[in-house]
Every structure is written in C-alpha cells, then in structure tokens.
Amino acid sequence: MATTIDRREFLKLAGIGGAVFASGLPGCATTGAAQEDFYFVQLSDIHLGYDNPKVNPEAKSTLARAVAAVNSLEQKPDFVVFTGDLTQTTDEPKIRRQRLTEFRDIAAGLKVPKVYYFAGEHDAALDRGEAYQEIIGGPLYYTYDHKGVHFIVLDNISDPAPILGEKQIEWLKADLARQKTDAPIVVLTHRPLFPLYPQWDWATRDGMQAVDALMPYKNVTVFYGHIHHEHHHRTGHIEHHASRAIMFPLSPVGTAPAKTQLPWDAARPFNGLGFRTVEAGAGGAGPKMWEQPLVKA
C-alpha cells in the first residue's frame, strides 16, 4: 500500500541511528508541504562470495544481515534498489551463476513492495551481463517512475572498459528530452559518473557526457556505489552521493597509498558497512538521505 509520509514524521522514523546528509541545493529547503514524499533504500556492493576473513569474517551472513536490517526498519520503504556488485567477481561462469542465484534467493527475503536491481562490474563485466540477465533478469539500463520522480538506471559496468557508450548516451538524451526541465530526476549508477579518482578506477570514461546531458535539468541527484564508503560531490548543481558497502569498506582517497580494503575491527564489528535510506518526492525538495549502519551499536 502506498504511504504518504509527513516529512517530520519521516525524519523521526528514518533518522534514528543514522547520519543525515541534507541537500544544500538552492531551492531544496527541508521545510514545506510534503507532496507524495516517499522513501527508498539503497543497498550497494554486496559482493556475495567474497572471502577474506581479515576483512569480513562474517561474509557468508552479511547479505542476510542487510536484509534483516531493512526488514526491521520501522517505516517500510516503498522500494529497495541494489546499486551493483551483487556478487564478488569470478573468472568461472558456473560460479558466477551460483553466486547470482544465491544472491537472488537471499534478497527475496526483503519484505518491501518492490526491489530494483542493476549490476556492477563484478557481476557483469566479464560476460557483458549474460549471467546477470539470465538470473536476475531485466535490462542493464532502464528507467522507472515512482510518485512523480523519474529514475534513470545507467550501465557503466557491462563493458570491461568503464564506459556508458555512445548508444546508451543517445538513449539517455532521448529519455531526457521527454522530461520537463524542472522534473525531479534521480540517476542510479554503479561507478561515479565524474572522475572521482581514475587512479583507483573510480571513474567512468565518458561519464561527463551523461552529466552534461543532465545539466539542463534543475532537480537531478545521482546515487552510486563502487567506492565502498560515503562520499558527496557536486558537478555544477548536480549532487553525486556514494553509499557505503554491505561487504567491506575501502579507504577514501588520500588515506592510503593504494586502494585498500579496511581490516575487520573486532571491537566494532561491521564498522564502516551500511546502507542508505533516501527520502524523495515530487514536491520540489531534493532528496534527503541517512546513512544507516549494517548493525546498530
């Protein structure tokens, strides 16, 4: 059943235990009448099949914990979206299919009205999404609308090169041409569209072409994963928000000489892991988000 949430009520329900990031966009005030506000959950970088006890000794149960954490949210989200890297990559097609199947079966335990999926490079780059589409199903890039918000899922992972490609960029432009310039738009993608740190493969080679295409639209927010820690960036008026990972955290740029999986902290199990709850709506306010720990202290 669709639920319209009063914004103050939502803050009370969803903000508990999570750090809030409020949009600083002009015109994105946090007050005002809620108009079909809703909230969704972003889960990213699950890496089912990952095996390194020094980093996550609870790897086998981590996705189930995430499912339980979402199911225990006091206010049920309208939907959950997985933003890629559902499984840890493998060079063996048979194992890839086993992992995707196991992922699908555990994720089926989510008690939410709708779940959206898309792949990360770990799921899809080695076979251009063949196993992913066979088991999870659906296209690699697509759009959907929810309560007046237009969601665009972009694929910058199914080619071994981190690209969107000319065909998809033309598809994006054609889709945007059907939107009003003040339409609320949320872009979901795995890799950052902007060159966050290409030295660690944190970029999409032609991603700025997508950003340029989005630039005429006033209310655009991008949510992505891939970098395994919370990060916020702005290109012009467009905000880009990276989510924490479910399986293991990565060092932020500038904190390690090389991309580093952060070791397990026995004193603080699951530290740095988590997911995101996002409030959105067609009422003119930009999305607001809360970073939720995988396991509450």
């Binding site: 990559t89 493998t90 060079d91 490079e121 780059a125 080695l126 992972i157 071994p160 090169a161 981190p162 060159p195 290409p198 030295q199 660690w200 493969d201 970029a203 090389a258 991309k259």
Partner: protein, 122 residues
Amino acid sequence: MRAYLMRLAAIAAIAGVAGYYAAALAAAAPPERIALTAAKFAFSSREIRLRKGRPVTFVLSSPDFAHGFSVPDFNLRKDVMPGKTVEVTFTPDRAGRFIFLCDNFCGEGHDQMAGVLVVTDD
C-alpha cells in the same frame, strides 16, 4: 665582496645554461623504450623509474586479455589487445610518483593490477 657576488652570478648562469641544454638534450634524445607486459593480474614491472623531460615509449603487450594501460595523471591510456604490440610515447613533465593501472576490468585480480611511475628530476 663584489667580485665574490659576480663569481656566484657567473656560476649560476653557467649552471642555468647547462641545465637548459641538459633538458633540451634529454628532450631531443630518442625516447627510452620500455617493454611492459600486461597479464592477468599484474604488469611485468610494478615500479618504473623515469626522468623528467626525457621522452619514453612504452611497448605494451598482453597474452590473455584486452587490458588497459592508463596513467591518469598524464592523461595517457591505451588498450592492449592480446597478441598485438602497441606503443605509446610521452614525456613526463613533472617529478613524483604516479599510479599506472589496468583500467579494463579483467577478472578476479583486477584491483591489484597497478604500479607506479617514479619520475625524478635528475
């Protein structure tokens, strides 16, 4: 004192001219050729030492996958197709440590497939 200062100025001028000609000679010299193999999941060298201002040609090859060779700090990249050799030439214009990496996702060890160019002033 004045003679001393004049001597210092002369030495500095000579050093400057010498430095200029050394840099010009380095730039005019044929590029240093460095063979680099990209194979799952490492490059044949993890650290490559270069001189600032001295052109270098990387002779790239791969036996197993269409790896990428990328040095983002110098906006340099090439696809390295299996069974083919490809060359890329550039002149490092600043000293420091610069990451090179495979930027085509190539499999289980892709994240470790990187190295460092160490560019020195001398």
